[in-house]
């Protein structure tokens, strides 16, 4: 029963997302004004769902992996929340091992969660099994774009065969109809349909990444999961791909999750950002707010560490790093805040109690932070050190 519902929803959605006129992309959101809760509203076609209804809602998601030798399972994701609306780009940041990729895999059904729900249009897709799951997957509502197109595209298949492979497996249309859809998808990502006859190795890096995005959009997806889509690319190709994602979400009302460790790339296109640390969401909210006034010490550390051409005033990474030696780590802080062992501002309460998600921002709940000292840690940076730019500090020390 669930699968037929989903199919119907999928068809309704794809029927309701015809080529709408692209909204001008030259209208940057001013950083100071609150980002509306439905950034996609102007470009969202009047689908069966109301504009503000989330496309994807991940609730209390938990994933754990078995240890090689048995024993207690390793918790990789714990109580993760994530919401994506149609036409919205949500960035996921965090360091290696924070669970970013596992989150995307769990949403796509490539990893089985052991708790929580993954709701696509209010239906829990994490619970689909067997035939229902197969049918849902062949519907193509969720698509993945990987980091390295040279590895994610079969080197021995032509671009056209790779892009059309999913359609062929799902048995969509005739061969000629599929070729037509492949050509349409290639055009949609800004490639000449003639590249369908070429091999991935004959394309440039940027073209290859366009081809892998074509392979995703050919299925008429509702949600695109992009795992580090631009990290393998040069700066100029990187922006081409980011612009393409921005255009696709406007034109197709796609919800897009972009996993990236490049904060600046994300800031260019994402509406909201989710900051993961050791499998927990430590901060989430409108990206301009979170990046300009981070309320969690870990977010602040990430931002202070990002290299900057301008060298403007900001907190230096050294002001945010823990002053305690590392070996102080695990034992004392186990059971408390996940970031406490690296946090300069951690106190006893951080060692004992995991902080809850405090809501702030507008509308309420739009900006959440999991920290016991949300409102006070910043004062301590002023007390302990004079704010200076990382650049001048570094240049002075090396002069």
């Amino acid at each position: 029963m669930t699968d037929t519902d989903l199919d119907a929803a999928g068809r309704a959605a794809s029927a309701a997302t015809p080529p709408t006129p692209p909204t001008p992309s030259t209208s940057p959101t001013p950083s100071t004004s609150p980002i509306p809760s439905t950034p996609s509203a102007p470009s969202t076609p009047s689908a069966s769902s109301t504009p503000s209804a989330p496309l994807l809602h991940v609730e209390e998601l938990g994933v754990s992996f078995a240890r090689p030798g048995g024993g207690r399972r390793i918790r990789v994701l714990d109580d993760v929340e994530l919401t994506v609306r149609p036409g919205e780009i949500v960035g996921v940041v965090g360091e290696t091992g924070s669970g970013k990729t596992t989150l995307a895999r769990a949403i796509a059904g490539l990893t089985t969660p052991d708790g929580g729900r993954v709701l696509l249009d209010d239906r829990d897709i994490a619970r689909l099994r067997g035939r229902a799951r197969r049918r849902f997957r062949r519907g193509g509502a969720i698509q993945f774009v990987f980091q390295d197109p040279l590895r994610s595209l079969d080197p021995e298949l032509t671009v056209g065969a790779s892009v059309g492979e999913g359609l062929a497996i799902a048995g969509v249309g005739s061969r000629a109809q599929r070729a037509e859809r492949v050509a349409g998808a290639l055009r949609q990502v800004g490639l000449d349909p003639a590249v369908a006859d070429r091999l991935p190795a004959q394309l440039s890096g940027g073209q290859r990444q366009r081809a892998s995005i074509a392979r995703a959009v050919v299925a008429d997806p509702r949600l695109l999961l992009c795992d580090e889509p631009v990290s393998a690319l040069d700066a100029s190709n990187r922006n081409h791909i980011l612009l393409l994602l921005d255009e696709l979400r406007r034109r197709l009302a796609l919800g897009i999750v972009v996993i990236s460790h490049d904060l600046s790339s994300l800031a260019g296109i994402a509406d909201r950002v989710v900051v993961l640390y050791r499998g927990r969401v430590v901060e989430a909210g409108p990206i301009a707010d979170v990046f300009t006034r981070p309320r969690h010490p870990y977010t602040a550390l990430l931002i202070a560490s990002a290299p900057d051409i301008h060298g403007r005033d900001r907190l230096a990474a050294a002001q945010l790093r823990s002053q305690r030696p590392d070996d102080d780590a695990t034992a004392r802080w186990a059971g408390g805040c996940v970031f406490a062992h690296r946090c300069r501002f951690a106190t006893d309460v951080c060692a004992q109690t995991p902080p809850s998600q405090d809501a702030a921002g507008r509308p309420a709940g739009d900006w959440t932070v999991a920290c016991h000292h949300t409102d006070t840690w910043r004062n301590q940076t002023a007390a302990t050190a004079t704010p200076t730019t990382a650049v001048t500090a570094r240049k002075e020390s090396s002069a």
């Binding site: 030259t26 360091e95 700066a235 490049d262 800031a267 301009a288 990430l302 290299p307 020390s397 002069a399």
Partner: protein, 348 residues
């Protein structure tokens, strides 16, 4: 920012007219590159993939891949020529006088040998230390690289360490012979941003403590901006602009440098119009009569396309390869985030 006058240090490395061919000599990928590195100086090389920056580094290290060769030019390192010297001569240089770190530290370590043993081996082979001496020195070096519990790290295998820790181990091996020149080719690219900041600080410290000269290669202009005294901008196998980092970023003189600044990670957290550089670089080795950037340049005229453009010296230690340098107005990074917006031709 250090000015040229604060660097009276002697020249350590001189590269003059370097040309490197790939594909067995058929394709010229580095087309006459000349620059100097002084003792204790950090020189950044920035450019897109295929611009020849890694080939230059590999020429200095004598580790060009099969099919690649220095076809012309000289490389002089503290009085020693590095072109066409025998294997035995390299053994005297690499590890003790010139060292290198690359992007993926795990692929440069033996996965089946504890990392400390690999470091101690360097000390025994290159410096002739005894087993016990080498072990003690290795543990001290690991500690100097900011690794906690160095004695434990010494016994660990590469798979037991994170990327940042592995890069610190590789750095320890690189500086173990007390080299004068360190080549860091995308050494922090694969690291998390928090770890990247720590490794860059470690490199800056090594430079200050040991008087180490560094050639840092990165495609990320922001990394170069934070770390390097001077910057060389590579495009399609040539240097198109060179000079003190702060001056070049504040007021670029070559249209390609300006375009790179516009597309770089500007550290701006506002939603912005993402700039792109239209077109693609010429194919590696392509022969063009004039400027290699002309087809992507908003300022190009007929005079740019007819004859080769020389790298012209300007005041204050700067140089640029552009015939229209005195006719065009370019904006730099000093204008702040807003300055990264509009630009002729290349922005959307």
């Amino acid at each position: 920012m250090p000015e040229p006058t604060t660097h009276p240090a002697e020249v350590l490395l001189t590269i003059d007219g370097l040309r490197v061919t790939i594909a067995g000599g058929r394709t010229e990928a580095v087309r006459g590159v000349s620059f100097e590195v002084r003792r204790g100086e950090t020189v950044g090389i920035v450019g897109e993939s295929g611009s020849g920056k890694t080939l230059v580094c590999r020429s200095v290290l004598g580790v060009l891949a099969p099919g690649c060769a220095v076809s012309d030019g000289t490389i002089d390192f503290a009085g020693t020529s590095l072109v066409g010297i025998p294997r035995r001569a390299w053994d005297q240089l690499r590890g003790t006088r010139i060292a290198a770190v690359f992007q993926d530290p795990a692929s440069y370590l033996n996965p089946s040998v504890p990392v400390g043993h690999q470091l101690a081996e360097q000390l025994r082979v290159k410096l002739g230390r005894s087993r016990r001496d080498a072990r003690d020195a290795a543990v001290r070096l690991l500690a100097a690289m900011g690794l906690h519990e160095p004695a434990r790290v010494y016994r660990q295998y590469p798979y037991e360490l994170s990327g940042g820790m592995l890069q610190r181990v590789v750095l320890a091996i690189a500086v173990s012979g007390d080299p004068q020149l360190l080549i860091a080719d995308e050494a922090t690219t694969a690291l998390d941003v928090t770890i990247q900041a720590e490794v860059l600080e470690l490199l800056a410290g090594l430079r200050a403590d040991r008087g180490l000269a560094v050639i840092a290669v990165s495609h990320d202009l922001a990394v170069i901006a934070e770390f390097c005294d001077r910057v060389l901008v590579f495009y399609a196998g040539e240097i198109v602009e060179a000079g003190p980092t702060a001056a070049v970023l504040r007021a670029p003189r070559h249209p390609y440098t300006e375009a790179l600044l516009r597309v770089a990670s500007v550290g701006s957290w506002e939603r912005r119009n993402l700039a792109v550089i239209d077109g693609q670089p010429p194919a590696v080795g392509a022969t063009l009569p004039g400027c290699r950037f002309a087809d992507r340049c908003a300022f190009a005229t007929e005079q740019c396309r007819t004859r080769p453009i020389p790298l012209t010296e300007l005041a204050d230690g700067r140089a640029v390869r552009c015939v229209r340098v005195d006719e065009i107005a370019l904006s730099g990074a000093g204008a702040g985030a807003a300055g990264a917006g509009a630009g002729a031709g290349a922005s959307r």
